[in-house]
């Protein structure tokens, strides 16, 4: 097996919630939001990895940790074998970010409305001191624009973001990330704000760049239906933990954690012959607060299969197939058929 490009071990991020003076005086324990609670995963070169889950499951926090926008509470991250949790000063982090870039969810607010497209694309070059002259930088900007198929570039460079459509804006975000020739891009819900028809266009484009520019993506999404097309590996997150991970085909065809099964049943059925009845979404209530994580298995209060052991004992990762791990006491024992469930 090839060496992973990116490795996370016991990655943890807890946020302290500010507490009042009185609570401090009483010596009450500090409350913590356990946004990411000790997760492990590997990402291989040119094998995209997607993190899937509901809002509040910690997937965006993982992305921010990977960019070193947040400092992890505990755990280690390695990029090409190098420990990036140890990067401490600004220069080191800046150098790291030259090879790791991020695309944000909302293209409408990720681009400064007062800057022209040219300025927006030039900024990363200025920050990293790339290109000696304006002409040289212009060449790079043109190249990046052509890569995201905004051609001819002259037509767009002088525009402001509001003059572009949502899909075009997101392609500018992609060009801005690509201009530094990164190896790795964290894409946080890059298409969730776009129309379905445009979504496909942006995802196709991002996929083309994998081979063309040797890019690997960490794709954060709540929409499990796009992962099969776009990624090779998938990690399903619930309340700060990665409850199931593996090759995307294995996980989607043979979901072994009840949460993954619920996510799959919830995907709208685009065939009126099949999806007419009332679906049985096998999951109760809403995601609990990450301050008070349930004891035992963190999914047990919402789980339709929960037994006594789930309330008391934390499940460990169980191997249900090659590279396919589910954190459930009954992984591999729960029968599931997507066609029946729908």
């Amino acid at each position: 097996m090839a060496k992973p490009l990116f490795k996370a071990r016991n990655l943890t991020k807890h946020f302290d919630i500010t507490q009042g003076f009185l609570q401090k005086l009483r010596g009450e324990e500090k409350q913590k939001v356990k946004a990411v609670d000790g997760i492990d995963f590997d990402i291989y070169w040119k094998q995209n990895f997607s993190a899937v889950g509901e809002s509040g499951c910690g997937k965006t926090t993982v992305g921010k940790l990977m960019m070193r926008l947040l400092d992890p509470t505990d755990g280690r991250m390695y990029m090409k074998g190098k420990d990036i949790t140890e990067l401490s000063n600004k220069q080191q982090i800046k150098a790291y970010r030259r090879q790791t870039q991020m695309i944000y969810q909302d293209p409408f607010s990720a681009l400064d409305p007062r800057h022209r497209i040219r300025t927006i694309l030039e900024e990363p070059l200025m920050i990293h001191g790339i290109g000696d002259s304006r002409d040289e930088r212009d060449d790079m900007i043109y190249e990046a624009m052509e890569e995201v198929r905004l051609t001819p570039p002259e037509k767009f460079l002088r525009r402001y973001p509001h003059m572009l459509s949502g899909g075009q804006k997101q392609r500018i975000s992609l060009a801005r990330a690509m201009i530094l020739n990164p190896d790795f891009i964290v894409a946080d819900e890059p298409v969730s704000m776009l129309d379905v028809s445009v979504r496909a266009e942006v995802l196709n484009l991002m996929k083309d760049l994998i081979d063309k520019e040797d890019i690997t993506y960490f794709y954060i999404t709540h929409d499990i239906s796009t992962t099969r097309f776009f990624t090779d590996y998938i990690g399903v997150m619930y309340l700060g933990d990665m409850v199931e991970k593996g090759k995307v085909g294995d996980v989607l065809d043979n979901p072994s954690h009840p949460y993954t099964q619920a996510l799959l049943v919830a995907v709208p059925e685009p065939d009126p012959e099949r999806g007419r009845g009332v679906k049985k979404v096998p999951i109760k209530g809403e995601i609990p607060s990450a301050v008070n994580i349930p004891k035992g298995c963190r999914f047990h209060p919402r789980c339709p299969h929960s037994k006594k052991i789930c309330r008391n004992k934390k499940p460990v990762g169980k191997e249900v197939g090659k590279e396919h791990i589910a954190k459930c006491h009954f992984a591999g024992e729960i029968e599931f058929d997507l066609e029946v469930a729908k």
Binding site: E54, S55, R149, L150, T151, P152, K155, R158, R159, M163, L164, S165, G166, G167, Q168, D195, V196, S197, V198, R199, A200, E201, L203, N204, K207, H222, D223, I224, S225, T226, R228, F229, G249, L252, A262, L263, L264, V265, A266, V267, P268, E269, P270, D271, P272, E273, G275, R276, V278, K279, V281, I283, E286, L338
Partner: protein, 360 residues
Amino acid sequence: MVGKAVLKVDELSTHYLTGDGEVQALDDASFVLHKGESIGVAGESGCGKSTLAFSLLNLVPPPGQIVNGSINLDGIEVTDLNEKQSRKKIRWKKVSMVFQGAMDIMTPVYTVGHQMVEPLKYHKGIEGKKARAICEKYLELVNLEGGIFDRYPHELSGGQKQRVIIATALLLEPDLVILDEPTTALDVVVEARIMNDLKRLRRELDISMIFITHDLSILAEVSDNLAIMYAGWIVEFGSAKQIYKDPKHPYTEKLIAAIPDIRTDIERLEYIPGVPPNLVNPPTGCRFHPRCHKAMEVCRELEPEIYNIDGVKVKCHLFSEDKEIAESEEAEYETAYEDESASEAYEGELGEEEVVTEEE
């Protein structure tokens, strides 16, 4: 199952009279909705879906106005009503609407109950305990506890807020509920649950619904009929089953193909290149021709008529009975399929601006 017609829309056109010209947001829309039926309205952003909804409520924001056509809502001609009459006669009572981003619609300074009883107070003069009882009944219908009545909006999750809005829309037992992107901002699990509830409510209360969304995959589960909108036109209208199985209009075909499948591995996703046109100057002939993969020479010149093919209404030259039109030569002009960036929608805006900024 076809009951009496609740809503008859005939040749409805709504335009926005802006400084830059007349935005033809909705043109020549005609359809009928029967009691208990549901229509799904789909299309990309900027295709006139929300304008259609606002027109039905006689709530088109200025500078928009209904310029032509009629809306017959259970015997009442909506286009003849003035603002005060529409508020008294139709809104909430006959037709209610769940707006896009409904989660932000509640005032944060009042309790949920305070805001919920308003339609009851205004239309029926019901207040106090009686109003509360009615509200609680409807909250339970959408699977919420009655206790929500005393809470403030910030104490609720997105899904709960959306349910409160849906309950409020049902309070006066309208014949028709319009839902504009009811689940767009929600997680898939919550979305699936709310869609479930809507399916159940429609059966239990026998109300008609109009669903508006850009995501066709949601509509398959809830609509009897589909209206596919493009650039202010209804380009295809007919039974949802038929349209999903055999889409007629090239636009519908592409919209359906763009839905990713979780069951099979695919190499590429289908998409529609380009963006919907600026409706001040819509393309000549068929408005979809610059982005159409089946465009013919005739499409640029002639506006297609609406053809009835096996009960599905399609606005496309491909189905013309006139052989000369239906088998016209393939387009020789450039469509967005050759030039992927063909989006001239903002050209005008850029033109003005270039003059000012030469000094850069």
